[in-house]
């Protein structure tokens, strides 16, 4: 009687399946509850890993919903690598297509932001440019300057007020937090070790996206629309150590 890992794995992830044959209690009869120890370890440890990765999604939907949803997710998307700190990369797409979650249409965007925060936390270290680095450049070269962003920088676009939804569910006290009524993309930076999430306007997000993709400052500004003021965005990027080199 050979118990293959294929049979073991299949029964681990299917709670309705009988345990594989060839696994015994000390008395020699088929193990059932003892096999459930492994089933339980897998389901609980992966559910806990998802709860650690997506605390705001968890808070928004509640514990019962989250754990039931995680049970569906972990069976459809078991981890592909042993790096549990990055488990859940498929969660935004999963949530976007998960029928019971459709009443919370911004849930997938919240999950994308939480993933961005995790990846930012573990991203490579980098030395930022000086806060006055742009001021050192000749004024007529400014339109031609391009930026290299720190590996920890992530921009999460959204048609929902993503930043304020996230913030209202992160700091414990939701009563005083106003949810913005407009689209509000979120910029993730990591000045030292703890990622910081700042709200951007849709225009700032469009300009920032262009800069991230390598556009010059002059080209990127065209994405901001008429009357766009680059000052506040540059203030955030420089203040949060998001830029690690400039090229003219």
């Amino acid at each position: 009687m050979i118990t293959t890992q294929t049979a073991f794995r299949k029964a681990l992830l299917d709670p309705a399946a009988p345990p594989p044959t060839g696994l015994n209690n000390p008395g020699g009869e088929q193990a059932t509850k003892r096999f459930d120890v492994y089933r339980n370890n897998v389901a609980v440890s992966l559910t806990d890993a998802l709860e650690t990765a997506f605390p705001v999604v968890h808070k928004l939907v509640g514990d019962d919903f989250f754990r039931a949803m995680a049970g569906v997710y972990l069976r459809a998307h078991p981890p592909k690598s042993p790096l549990m700190m990055f488990y859940g990369d498929d969660m935004p797409d999963f949530l976007a297509g998960f029928a019971p979650a459709q009443s919370v249409p911004y849930l997938a965007d919240v999950a994308r932001l939480e993933l961005a925060i995790r990846h930012s936390y573990h991203a490579a270290d980098a030395t930022p440019v000086a806060p006055d680095a742009l001021g050192q450049l000749a004024p007529d070269s400014l339109p031609h300057v391009t930026f290299t962003f720190a590996p920890a920088v992530r921009l999460v676009t959204s048609q929902y007020p993503l930043h304020s939804i996230w913030a209202a569910n992160t700091n414990g006290d939701t009563s005083s937090s106003e949810i913005a009524q407009t689209a509000q993309p979120a910029l993730v930076t990591r000045p030292e070790f703890d990622p910081i999430v700042d709200p951007l306007t849709p225009a700032q997000s469009a300009v920032c996206t262009a800069l991230c993709e390598g556009a010059s400052l002059g080209e990127a500004l065209r994405h901001g629309g008429a009357g766009f003021d680059i000052g506040p965005l540059l203030g955030i990027l420089l203040g949060r150590h998001a830029i690690i080199s400039l090229k003219t």
Binding site: R9, P26, R34, V37, N41, S81, Y121
Partner: protein
């Protein structure tokens, strides 16, 4: 095969390092002489985890303990993961690297648990081949840890201790003896934990693990202990440690506490008890 003068873990208590204890350990580590990390938690590219490790490694020898290599897997080892382990070991230069006699990945899915193996000639060969690959890739000896068992394979035709001795003979690896796992497995499968220690190749032990377990029962009312690493080490496991150390002599002793991790003083008490157990066999 491997350089016997390479750095070794001290015969002192160590703890499984948790980030929330960083300041406590830097301020007063008590009898703690070394630290162990789970390799997979330090495979990011930067940030706080690696910065903490950089600071701590100036003060303490390290043990890198893998929990995801799936050495007992039917399929080939994950080459990407093995490369990540090499990167970490080359950077940190730990005094020890260890992994488990278990499998955790199959058909590209990682199941996040240490799953059991039958003890047969076929699995001896598979595990030995994988350990050869690990040791030649990392350029160092590894230690192999005995599992906590909840059930038995009908196909097994050798004891766990004979299996481990055969792996050591074939690969030249060392052993990580988890005495809590011995106690859990012996209770669950109905054999004597002292008898297991008597049959175990103690000469090859490079490290001993101690941890807490939970108590349950199977469907027939037989005891079913679960290796949870979520509480204090129980008295019978301390007694089994004393029994082991009396035969093996002093070894590096690790306190593992991975779930419901307590504040540092609780963990520090456990390390003092480990230190006292070591003092009894250190003449």
């Amino acid at each position: 095969m491997f350089d016997a003068t390479s750095p070794q873990l001290p015969h002192a208590p160590g703890v499984g390092y948790k980030a929330q204890h960083f300041n406590d350990i830097m301020a007063d580590a008590g009898p703690v002489g070394w630290l162990e990390i789970h390799a997979e938690n330090y495979m990011g590219m930067g940030g706080r985890p690696l910065a903490q490790l950089r600071h701590l490694s100036e003060r303490f020898p390290f043990s890198v303990h893998g929990v995801g290599l799936s050495i007992g897997g039917e399929g080939p080892l994950d080459a990407d993961h093995l490369a990540r382990l090499k990167t970490l070991c080359d950077w940190l230069q730990p005094a020890s690297f260890s992994e488990h006699l278990a499998w955790s990945s199959h058909d590209s899915a990682f199941l996040n648990d240490l799953l059991p193996l039958p003890y047969t000639a076929a699995t001896v060969k598979r595990v030995a081949d994988h350990i050869d690959q690990v040791q030649s890739t990392l350029g160092r000896q590894m230690l192999l840890e005995n599992p906590s068992s909840y059930l038995a394979f009908a196909e097994s035709d050798m004891s766990e201790t004979d299996f481990l001795a055969e792996i050591v003979a074939r690969t030249g690896c060392g052993l990580l003896l988890d005495v809590n796992n011995v106690f859990v497995s012996a209770t669950n499968l109905g054999y004597s934990p002292q008898g297991y220690i008597d049959a175990y190749p103690l000469d090859h032990v490079g490290e001993i693990h101690l941890g807490g377990h939970d108590e349950d029962e199977d469907e027939h009312g037989a005891p079913l202990l679960i290796d949870s690493h979520g509480r204090e080490v129980v008295d019978p496991v301390w007694a089994l440690l004393d029994y082991t150390l009396a035969k093996s002599g002093p070894r590096p002793l690790l306190i593992e506490w991975d779930t419901d991790v307590p504040d540092w003083p609780v963990l520090a008490e456990e390390t003092k008890r480990a230190d006292a157990a070591l003092a009894m066999v250190t003449a």
